[in-house]
């Protein structure tokens, strides 16, 4: 069964907060859900499917369905870190196609900024995590894991810090137009390189922001989507993958996008050249470069040249990306950037992005998410959407 055309994204909402010390995580989930319902023109009683991941407080779907007063007949708490929400869209489409629900709500929220989270803290998933015994003592944080990925890419392909910096520069050009963005100043390549080294070879401005916030999406069956008053955003194709250390055959030169991308393009029946706008997960600049190569926007190893000289800036370059400013400048709620990737792609397809960054007549968009660690193990999800 193909998901192509089986469901539509009818509601999308990004919580405007970037720091929420006075709100609970459940509240941020619910406020995001309410925003998406209002955006779609639906009410709580229309929702019969609910999707959330590990950022949902308490016992995930139990706690949140109860808290929000939902009555659903389908739940899914697939957790692949920051890529979860793209997978949720695909799983919602599959559930709708299988008749398991009609209107699926997906929520994300978190307060890592208020709680003092940082990408330099070693992650501890507990002794039962099969890899933990062989990794925890070494201090695998987020920044140094991606640092190893960038270091190897530079070694293999001659990628430079200047090229990586262009990714941040492009994001900052977009963020200047987003009043909610945490970092709105346009930066230069030189400023990125002059920012403090966090984990070789990544500088502070190669890293995404830490922000509180949330977001929500509503996916519905075609008949319902057509009954609403919003532009139609159809799901064309999706792919998902998990990549790790492969039993010791570690290869940091590619990500799971090399597997999820081709699956999504095949299902959608389109090629990278057809994509007019791309939301690309940007936990770090290297994350973007890696996925651009793996999705086939350029050849493996040529990502550095591809992203340089403003090629990702809307209105200037060949591949407008993350026109909300992305995780690098705008928002990275719950340390999980997949939700906002889908939301900005929906804005582009509806023609509702900021006029300064809106891609003219944007009909085909891609959202790409990773979750976990490109340096150890991660989920990857690719979603291709069309304005009908």
């Amino acid at each position: 069964m193909s998901l192509n055309g089986k469901a539509y994204i009818v509601g999308a909402y990004e919580h405007p907060t970037r720091k929420a010390p006075d709100k609970s995580v459940a509240q941020l989930h619910a406020e995001s859900a309410r925003g998406a319902m209002l955006d779609a023109g639906l009410t709580k009683n229309d929702i019969d499917g609910y999707f959330c991941a590990g950022d949902a407080p308490g016992l995930g779907p139990f706690s949140m369905v109860d808290y929000m007063g939902l009555k659903v007949r389908h739940v899914d708490s697939t957790d692949t870190g920051g890529s979860s929400y793209l997978i949720h869209v695909a799983h919602a489409a599959a559930a709708i196609a299988a008749g398991k629900c009609n209107v699926a709500l997906i929520t994300l929220a978190g307060r890592p900024r208020s709680e003092g989270s940082s990408g330099t803290q070693a992650r501890n998933y507990g002794a039962a995590a099969p890899d933990a015994g062989f990794e925890f003592s070494y201090g695998l944080a987020t920044a140094n894991g991606y640092g190893m990925v960038a270091m190897r890419h530079m070694h293999e392909y001659g990628t430079t810090s200047e090229q990586l910096a262009w990714i941040k520069v492009a994001a900052s050009h977009h963020a200047q137009h987003n009043p909610h963005a945490m970092l709105r100043d346009v930066v230069t390549v030189e400023e990125v390189l002059a920012s403090p080294l966090i984990a070789d070879p990544l500088h502070r401005l190669d890293c995404c922001v830490v922000s509180d916030g949330g977001g929500a999406l509503i996916v519905a069956r075609p008949e319902i989507a057509r009954s609403l008053k919003r532009p139609l955003v159809k799901i064309r194709g999706a792919g998902e993958a998990v990549k790790g250390q492969m039993g010791g055959k570690v290869d940091l030169t590619y990500s799971g996008a090399a597997w999820s991308g081709p699956a999504a393009f095949a299902e959608a029946g389109v090629t990278p050249a057809d994509i007019q706008y791309a939301s690309i997960y940007d936990s770090f600049t290297i994350t973007v470069l890696m996925q651009i190569e793996d999705l086939g926007f350029c050849k493996k190893g040529e990502g550095g040249k591809f992203v340089a000289d403003g090629n990702l800036i809307s209105g200037q370059g060949k591949l407008p990306f993350n026109t909300d400013g992305g995780g690098l400048c705008n928002n990275h709620p719950a340390n999980r950037g997949g939700m906002t990737k889908v939301i900005e792609a929906v804005r582009q397809l509806r023609g509702e992005a900021h006029p300064k960054v809106q891609v003219p007549n944007c009909r085909l968009a891609l959202a790409q998410g990773t979750g976990g660690q490109l340096g150890s193990r991660h989920g990857s999800a690719t979603l291709i959407m069309e304005r009908e």
Binding site: T120, G145, G147, G248
Partner: protein, 140 residues
Amino acid sequence: MSIETRTPKPVDAERKLPAPLVNPENQAFFDATARGTLLVGTCHACGELHYYPRALCPYCFSDRTEWIAAKGTGTIYSYSTLHRGVPVPYTIAYVTLDEGITMMTNLVDFAPGSLRIGQSVRVLFRETEGGIKVPVFTPV
């Protein structure tokens, strides 16, 4: 102040490694590190080595696995020194063992700025908080 212009502190001298997260499956690995031995997984069904070692072969899923001693020499596959947000900078790495498999580790006892991908390294066993030893590597 830019980090590039300051002299990095030696990684190993001041940093106490956190204790490894031990469970019933990986206990034997740390029994071996106490004796100065680095264990890797081997599979008697398909002949492949694997890391980290585990009960079932990640290639053919046979249970005819055995954990065997590696020579303890290899080359740097990649590395990154974490400079910020930590009391003492330290260097995480992947080392490709001469047996052909790649493992996560720390690099220690090297001159600042001297590390290179492809550089030869050898294993040392470094005591963590609580006394359990873990394998780390140093340039040859």
